[in-house]
Symmetry: C2
């Protein structure tokens, strides 16, 4: 039978209020009683009831995790999961647990994130996004619930976000090609209405222009971040000659798809076409050839997200945003000399 605070109070010969004060270290309590009560708590293994506590305090110490967007972003997304994992560890240190919304098609009300936040009295939310803002995400963003976006630009009154400096990511890739005299480069983006993808595209175009490299319209294609779409996009690019000398894809999975298309066309990577992806997921290291990519510091993003969200919850800060610097990782798929580069 579960112990309640009353049981503890009775055992210690004090009132429930006193026990509560001892547990939460509020009010003023003599050290003798304090010690006695603490001992009993220890011995009995008493744990205060979560629901009673959050009912009384209107706090939950729970962070909601929302996988947003049209795309099927979920527990096995190679990029977001690593961010989330770092987030989880850091936020755990601060005493929060994580509640995952089970994106239930079932009842319409489950789509309503704001309502669910209130329902659970969540202290805050982490929103990882396949980039696409749904109405109910927007509504949540604009509410007073502290929100932290990963790769999604939240603008609400108590929302911050962290994202990779995507413009710089593109610039680094373009510069790399430029330095090696590779001037004809194609781009495979995410969905056209995706903010992140658009930033990458704009960064790409801008760098290309600045460096005097021309961009062929046919060499700009769009996918949905996943493998198959990269394959198709690359097919389109290879539909007409001349071929580009290099391709930059806005996600590794699309790059891997593109890799397959290039191979299917009987071309060699990196000799005929060089290829660079984006994200640095694990599979890059195992592909043949190993995929060059723009590495996003996922651990750092996760940790930052945790700190920023905590600040937001405590009202320590105004909404803010942080751009994390990306790093270009050159592997075989864009190696510029004949000898293979090692990982």
């Amino acid at each position: 039978m579960k112990l309640t605070i009353k049981d503890i109070a009775k055992m210690a010969g004090v009132s429930p209020g006193t026990v509560s004060k001892i547990i939460n270290d509020t009010g003023s309590i003599g050290w003798k009683t304090k010690e006695k009560v603490l001992k009993i708590i220890e011995e009995t293994g008493y744990q205060p009831s979560f629901s009673a506590k959050s009912l009384a305090t209107k706090k939950s110490n729970l962070i909601g995790l929302i996988y947003a967007g049209e795309i099927d972003v979920d527990f096995n997304h190679p990029f977001f999961n690593q961010v989330i994992n770092a987030f989880r560890k850091t936020i755990g240190q601060m005493g929060y647990d994580i509640l995952v919304f089970s994106n239930n098609q079932f009842s319409k009300s489950n789509q309503d994130y704001l309502a669910r936040c209130k329902h659970f009295q969540l202290d805050g939310c982490l929103i990882v996004a396949g980039d696409y803002i749904e109405d109910s995400i927007y509504e949540l963003d604009q509410s007073s619930v502290p929100c932290l976006g990963v790769d999604i630009e939240l603008t609400g009154p108590s929302s911050s976000y962290v994202t990779t400096d995507n413009s710089k990511a593109s610039a680094k890739v373009v510069e790399y090609f430029y330095l090696h005299s590779i001037k004809e480069v194609a781009f495979i983006g995410g969905p056209e209405d995706s903010v992140i993808s658009d930033i990458r595209k704009q960064g790409f175009l801008q760098s290309m222009n600045q460096l005097g490299m021309t961009v062929k319209p046919d060499w700009i294609q769009y996918g949905n971040y996943f493998e198959e779409s990269g394959y198709q996009a690359m097919k389109s690019i290879l539909a007409n000659r001349p071929y580009p000398q290099a391709v930059f894809a806005a996600s590794d999975m699309m790059a891997l798809g593109a890799m397959k298309a290039i191979k299917d066309a009987g071309l060699n990577i990196p000799v005929d076409i060089k290829l660079v992806g984006c994200d640095d997921i694990e599979a890059c290291r195992y592909s043949d050839p190993a995929l060059s990519t723009v590495k996003q510091d996922k651990d750092k993003m996760g940790r930052l997200a945790a700190y920023m969200l905590n600040d937001l919850i405590n009202g320590d800060t105004e909404p803010s945003s942080i751009l994390v610097d990306p790093e270009l990782v050159i592997r075989e798929s864009s190696a510029v000399d004949t000898k293979k580069l090692s990982i």
Copy 2:
């Protein structure tokens, strides 16, 4: 300001109890009042408070997700995450949300899973395991909390589990080799104290014996399921000649590590040594050569887990267990003729 059940009651001119009965469809209520109240709820977007509700009912509609084990199993584990994802979708349909324990080193009490289950009044738990039973998992298993293990044999009074038929997995691999006259095969297992790994090993040894293939003790090595350990294990195996003709690793990641070691030794896969992994994670398809593996039906496992756990929670069933049949997927790394096999 948040609406309470009393507000709704007042607006509808009925008592809170009546509203509650309407929401939960209990008791008997006239259709006119029912309709009136429902309309108001609809209009106001009223949502009952989670904490108040679970305080009163002692239920939470929450499932705890526990990543157990010594190994750092977490949000970016390629195998478990896919299982969890399928689980999440299915259990979501049933109206549950998922609470992730944030494995907080901080306070000792956070290690105590049972206490935390009671604290949150969880309806049940999903335990995915890096195979190693910690004391606090054992305690949880033996309690009355409904638990469902994935790849971990839970034996408690209200625990079920689902796992791949690991013995059969090994058998299929061995048989495959046997059929192609490959009789010298090495084995790289998980941690020696891991139950799952042991089953795979026993299955391996047994099949080998049955088919009259001899097993060299040096050809049995152990890792920790991760890449680096596979690399090391393979190094040991290659330390002495003769080399085995084939290697079966108990995880894909270890197989990928082994692949690297074999390449480093200047050997060719599959010509010199054939290699088969286990799990069928994504990276298998991208490695060079593409890795053969024993595929575990992760979606099915996740779905089954959800159904079984739900049954357990509703008291519909006795504890039970299901072994899911594995499937041997042959790719390039164990191809038996010269022409490359496609995926």
